[in-house]
């Protein structure tokens, strides 16, 4: 039972991160019908920027509790600029091209970003500085630390905030209108290009936060970290129903739980044949299972017609 609770906590932490990243995939897909495979790299850039800023600020003697929000804001600003640029440079010229073109371009952007990051930050793992005394708490036999509590609460707050933007503001209304019918949205006076840019920037801001969360939780950042994380978050978005915001959140949390419960019990399930290092396969089992049995995802309705 302790293992169970522990894996639930781990799953919720990891799932929160997946959910934030999955939202970026799903928002862009909802509005453009495009899978932005470079999104995982935006998470990585966010983590790297935050880490660099944090290390520098702490080096200059800035107190950790001030350095952390400042670096987060810098990383968010950097990623928003990056997301804006990616759309502007790589996707916008291909807006009316056959679907394969932007998809291949997305993979290209992803490779470019990885290599740029490698040139800037090198191939080595960067350690996340010890900021606070990260205390552990015992809950029903399981352990959760301060960073994990902050991750879960922040992620939930961000998701609620995003839903409020999308459903309660005129910008959100315009985003939904553009997602549904770009011509009709233009006829309402909506600057479609602007709304698309804002969508990329919102997704990228969430990606930056997710990047900081991952590196704080694992204490590490690396130029290659965006690849697997991006694929898993994409899986989460597909699991929930790509294009559907609630689906991305649900899919993210579920995938986190599936992975961590899977990792916790895989040894028992296979009689010790496979160990928890196989946890990554669960995400892809899930992806395949969803694509085979329910391609529209748990809450989605239109993958089949659009992808």
């Amino acid at each position: 039972m302790e293992i169970f609770f522990q894996q639930i906590i781990n799953g919720l932490v990891q799932g929160s991160v997946y959910a934030l990243v999955a939202l970026g995939y799903t928002m862009v897909y909802g509005i453009l019908g495009l899978i932005n495979f470079a999104h995982g790299e935006v998470v990585m850039v966010g983590a790297m920027l935050a880490l660099s800023a944090l290390t520098a600020l702490i080096g200059w003697g800035v107190p950790p509790l001030l350095a952390l929000p400042v670096s987060l804001l810098l990383a968010m600003a950097g990623c928003m600029l990056l997301g804006f640029g990616i759309e502007r440079i790589a996707y916008r010229p291909l807006r009316h091209a056959p679907r394969l073109a932007p998809l291949i371009t997305a993979i290209g952007v992803s490779i470019v970003l990885q290599n740029l990051a490698m040139m800037i930050w090198g191939r080595e793992y960067h350690a996340f500085p010890q900021l606070i005394n990260n205390q552990s708490h015992h809950v029903g036999g399981a352990i959760i630390n301060d960073i994990q509590i902050v991750i879960i609460i922040t992620a939930l707050g961000l998701m609620a905030g995003l839903m409020a933007i999308v459903h309660r503001t005129s910008l959100g209304c315009a985003m939904r209108a553009v997602a549904e019918n770009q011509h009709a949205a233009q006829l309402m006076g909506v600057d479609v290009n602007r709304v698309i840019s804002v969508t990329f920037m919102l997704g990228s801001a969430l990606a930056a936060i997710a990047g900081l969360m991952v590196s704080a939780n694992y204490g590490l950042a690396h130029y290659y970290m965006g690849f697997l994380l991006g694929l898993k978050a994409f899986t989460a978005a597909v699991l929930g129903g790509i294009g559907n915001l609630r689906g991305a959140m649900l899919g993210g949390l579920l995938l986190g739980l599936i992975e961590s419960l899977g990792a916790g019990y895989i040894g028992d399930l296979t009689g010790g044949f496979l160990g928890s290092q196989y946890q990554d396969v669960f995400a892809f089992f899930v992806l395949i299972a969803v694509l085979v049995f329910r391609p529209s995802g748990l809450l989605g309705e239109r993958l089949a017609e659009r992808a």
Binding site: S170, E180, M188
Partner: protein
Amino acid sequence: MKCATIPASSPPILERRVNKLLEISGLEVGYGGIHAVKGIDFHIGQGELVALIGSNGAGKTTTLKALAGLIAPVGGQIDYDGRVLNAVPAHQRVSMGIALVPEGRGVFARLTVAENLLMGAYSRRDHAAIDDDLARMYALFPRLVERRDQLAGTLSGGEQQMLAMARALMSRPRLLMLDEPSMGLAPLMVKKIFETIREVAAQGMSILLVEQNARLALQVSSRSYVMEGGSITLSGASADLLGSDAVQRAYLGG
């Protein structure tokens, strides 16, 4: 068929120009290789209700799309309220007072009725007046009141047409363009929609009405243009066109 170019120096004609809200000269629009509109001229005066009729594929929708900015013209000029519109993007034309109710209505099916109406006012910044207009639209189309929190996709065709019109009016247009508002509607609903068109026109709004139902369009409008194969083939006072043999034979089944 082309209007002679008006010399800007001649005062009486200049006077007339000021009263033209929209003036189109030599407008050409195409889709790739297809030439859908082949150099047409027409104008709409302030407060005028003008109809554009013609059979399927004549180029009526294409003309409206070019006016709304959804397609860039290949040639010619669109003058609106003293400005050349050709290079103005669609979304900016809305705040200049141009509204189009597109063919097929284009309501946002996944937005509620109320959200659709608010989208109509998206380009406006006078928030207090928007609430007044919202109330006015609900008074104009009482059917929408009880459905305000319903997704627009669940409305009937007639209700969607009402919503599309109300949504366009929410932008407080000076030029309202309607593309086949009667399409697919039951006679009673057509009557209601055309009553509203009359009402709006009576308040002084300029209207460009595209209709398959030529008789109805000629009855409600003051002037009309007949379009055929991408060109304007006839124009004049609607009452005269209603009586003309050519129109009777081609469009009124007489």
